[in-house]
């Protein structure tokens, strides 16, 4: 019986993994075709360069621009390299995070609204691999952009101010990338749950703000929330990060949150692939 059935159908020797690879390939191609793979890293590089440059030239700029009485002496101590890098991270946390969330705000909802998703999900693929392929694209673009921007900041800081230890930079990069992933995975879930892309971006940024506010206001009770990640990244680059149970709990909580968000998105997508 089974032999008959197999010969009746055309031979199909591939696994779920190769189907996932096809979906991820599609996401990659979209990043390339839409030029996102170029312009988003450029934005991050520009942000990364600006911080050390403005820190370095701040005294000069103030002197030129300010209507200070003759003879007044400006004494602004040059910040340390680590401080500049930490300020750069803050830049990535505001404008950088905004840009990257906005780039992905419609990642599921636009395809769902147009009906493109239903064309894909009637194929023998799982909704989970569809979502994970999107998540992979988020991981790729955000890490590449952060790497480029933070790397540029590191180079400029070393050139203009002082060198910062590679290890400190690398660990802060990883922690900050994890924070961006939290924001992006929130975006993925909300883009699946909501019809409006702008709504998803707004809600994701809002949720991110709440997370970091909670962990900053109540470090004792909420210090383990993923919202503490930017703080840990800052400590890492300043060289003051030490292994603590709170840091460990934060890492575990973050990984669990990411998994939960993707799972929830999967449940939502399974329930109704298309909306109209």
């Amino acid at each position: 019986m089974s032999g008959l059935a197999a010969s009746e159908r055309s031979v199909r020797p591939s696994s779920g993994l190769s189907r996932f690879a096809a979906m991820f390939g599609k996401e990659l191609l979209e990043l390339v075709r839409s030029l996102k793979l170029i312009w988003v890293p450029i934005v991050f590089i520009a942000l990364g360069i600006m911080q050390p440059v403005t820190s370095y030239y701040m005294p000069v700029i103030l002197e030129k621009a300010g209507n200070l009485p003759d003879g007044s002496v400006i004494e602004i101590p040059l910040p340390t390299g680590a401080q500049v890098m930490a300020e750069t991270l803050a830049q990535f946390g505001s404008l950088g995070a905004l840009v990257i969330v906005l780039v992905f705000m419609g990642t599921v909802s636009s395809e769902r609204n147009s009906g493109a998703v239903s064309m894909i999900l009637v194929k023998p693929v799982s909704p989970a691999s569809y979502l994970v392929s999107k998540w992979g694209a988020m991981l790729l673009l955000s890490s590449l952009s952060l790497l480029a921007g933070y790397g540029a900041a590191w180079y400029y800081t070393g050139f203009l101010i002082e060198a910062v230890a590679f290890k400190a930079v690398l660990s802060s990069f990883l922690l900050y990338e994890l924070w961006l992933l939290v924001l992006l995975t929130l975006t993925l879930l909300l883009s699946t749950a909501l019809r409006s892309a702008a709504g998803a971006a707004f809600a994701a940024l809002g949720a991110g703000a709440v997370l970091s506010l909670l962990s900053n206001l109540f470090p004792k009770y909420a210090g383990w929330l993923p919202g503490a990640l930017p703080g840990f990244a800052r400590q890492a680059v300043m060289g003051s990060l030490e292994w603590s149970s709170r840091f460990g709990a934060c890492l575990v909580a973050t990984v669990m949150l990411l998994a939960a968000l993707v799972l929830l998105a999967n449940i939502l997508l399974r329930r109704a692939a298309a909306i109209d």
Binding site: W39, V43, A46, I49, L102, S110, S114, Y156
Partner: protein, 71 residues
């Protein structure tokens, strides 16, 4: 402060500022090309072109995030 001194400072500044300007230029060109090529933009195209050219950094980003109607 005299002219020569300022010129000297500018010379010193240029290699540091230049990469930022180049990056902004690349962003502007990408955004302009996408804007001119796209069949439909959200809002009038000429306004977007002005925004891209005159609002440094923010203009091109705003166009690429909000200005395109992707089909």
């Amino acid at each position: 402060m005299n002219m020569a001194e300022e010129l000297g400072q500018l010379k010193e500044l240029l290699p540091i500022i230049a990469p930022i300007m180049v990056l902004q230029l690349i962003l502007m060109v990408i955004a302009l090309v996408l804007c001119i090529k796209s069949s439909q933009t959200r809002g009038p195209k000429w306004v977007w072109i002005l925004v891209i050219i005159f609002a440094n950094l923010i203009g091109p980003i705003a166009f690429m995030v909000f200005g395109r109607r992707n089909e």
